[in-house]
């Protein structure tokens, strides 16, 4: 069964460093998403992406964040200068269509720890 994969599973970085979180969505999907979950808190939407453009972003997704689809298979989230409060689990998701009825399939997550 096709699935969304994410690498690395755990990333440790120093405050102020740049990190890139990688995701491989399901191959025929066209819509991609990033969510994050700070420890003990709810899962929060960050950004959606389609046709090489951001479709929607939350207020969390400020200028230090960026997303990219560098090739036909990867979808990345870059955090330019990490802060302590960026420590969280980051989930990638993908869906075939944007419609509200379409299921978003989630990856296993990358746990980011900022020291």
């Amino acid at each position: 069964e096709p699935e969304v994969t994410q690498t690395p599973s755990h990333q440790v970085t120093q405050m102020g460093q740049e990190v890139i979180l990688r995701c491989v969505p399901i191959s025929n999907h066209l819509y991609f998403y990033w969510y994050r979950q700070i420890l003990g808190q709810k899962v929060e939407f960050l950004v959606s992406f389609y046709n090489n453009e951001i479709s929607e972003k939350s207020e969390i997704f400020d200028d230090q964040f960026s997303v990219e689809r560098p090739d036909g298979s990867n979808f990345t989230l870059k955090i330019r200068s990490t802060k302590l409060e960026d420590s969280a689990m980051y989930f990638c998701a993908s869906s075939e269509r944007l419609a509200g009825t379409d299921e978003q399939f989630f990856g296993p997550g990358t746990r980011l720890t900022v020291l």
Partner: protein
Amino acid sequence: AQSVTQPDIHITVSEGASLELRCNYSYGATPYLFWYVQSPGQGLQLLLKYFSGDTLVQGIKGFEAEFKRSQSSFNLRKPSVHWSDAAEYFCAVRQRSSASKIIFGSGTRLSIRP
């Protein structure tokens, strides 16, 4: 403001007992409704969803949920839990318009007593 409330942070039930996890939402109109499960170290797996029609929806792993418009609720149920059901459960909503984001509740952690 749009919100999803899961009032129970942690529930423990005995194996074989019935389960009900509560979810209430606050939205301008009835949204699409979902339940996800997250096992330790795993991603979010969709258990079931409600879009329209029959208000009792069946999902995977023997779960069901009932949409009650008058109560703005979408409670998850299972008649007999198994030890493997121990996990975190998230209720979620998605707007019926073109908005793509899912709004999650804070989750309920389910523990199973042998």
